[in-house]
């Protein structure tokens, strides 16, 4: 019964840190190079933090831990995060 959910579960935690909705960003996995929307990640939320894994190779691409007055964002499994912005 240890079900994961999709990357939309990251929306609240990431909105606190970033001013944009990061779930629409494109994330590239360090493990296999696959790129896809953050919302497509496989998120394990029944844990001491949010653990988002690549749907291709299941490596960890992103983690968010929320303490009472701090948050930690670990992106070491992420090659790059591509965020769409309004044209200049």
């Amino acid at each position: 019964m240890t079900a994961s959910v999709d990357g939309n579960a990251l929306a609240g935690a990431l909105r606190e840190i970033f001013a944009v909705d990061v779930t629409a960003a494109v994330v590239r996995c360090c493990g296999c190079g696959q790129a896809g929307a953050v919302a497509q990640l496989t998120v394990w939320a029944h844990a001491p933090g949010l653990v988002a894994r690549c749907p291709g190779c299941s490596d960890v691409v992103l983690r968010v831990v929320r303490g009472p007055d701090r948050a930690w964002l670990d992106l070491r499994g992420t090659v790059a995060l591509e965020v769409a912005l309004p044209a200049e």
Partner: protein, 198 residues
């Protein structure tokens, strides 16, 4: 006329068995940071690697032939649930270190599936830590870390690595999976060491 001073009767006393900030649960919540590894007992191996790279490996048959201890301990999860009086069977970690030549002060526990957690070596010695292979009279289910998990009940339960496959001995401390993402390097529930700096 009865004089009742407010607060005299209804005052709640904290449960002395519960560390600060914890609540009691009677079920056994399953926390997972990824897919559950399914490791058949006959393919399970446990390797202790020293700071020089010397490695010693035990199999399931080796483990279950070693003198085991039945222990009843309270467990405390950093997500704030505590479960009291859990019963386990395991081999003391110290039994795996007896013939190991090391000057290390720290250990990294490694799991099938890639999880890691760091502990001071002293916290794995004596009657404080076990390589556990039975829970509540049965084999440990994969969801709870079977076939074999680390059991270090005096620290928050993330230190009790599920799906244990090895210990790497280290001269210097180095953070594991949750410790690199904000959690405390030691994790004493009685001092409420949840996050870095607590």
């Amino acid at each position: 006329m009865a004089i009742v001073s407010p607060g005299f009767h209804g005052r709640r006393r904290a449960d002395p068995d519960l560390p600060p900030g914890q609540y009691l649960t009677t079920d056994f919540p399953v926390l997972s940071a990824g897919p559950t590894p399914r490791v058949p007992a006959d393919r399970w191996q446990f390797t202790v690697t020293t700071e020089t790279g010397a490695a010693t490996t035990w199999t399931w048959a080796d483990l279950t032939a070693m003198p085991a201890r039945d222990v009843t301990v309270d467990i405390h999860c950093v997500t704030k649930w505590s479960k009291l009086g859990t019963t386990w069977r395991g081999v003391p970690v110290s039994a795996f270190l007896e013939d190991v030549d090391t000057a290390a002060d720290y250990a990294m526990a490694h799991s099938y599936g890639g999880y890691t957690t760091n502990l001071p070596l002293d916290d794995l010695l004596d009657d404080q830590a076990w390589v556990a292979y039975r829970y509540d009279g049965d084999d440990i289910t994969p969801e709870h870390g079977g076939p074999v998990r680390l059991l270090v009940p005096h620290l928050y339960f993330w230190k009790s690595a599920k799906w244990l496959r090895g210990l790497t001995l280290m001269l210097e401390d180095s953070p594991g999976f949750w410790e690199t993402a904000g959690y405390h390097d030691y994790g004493d529930p009685w001092r409420e060491q949840r996050y870095q700096g607590d």
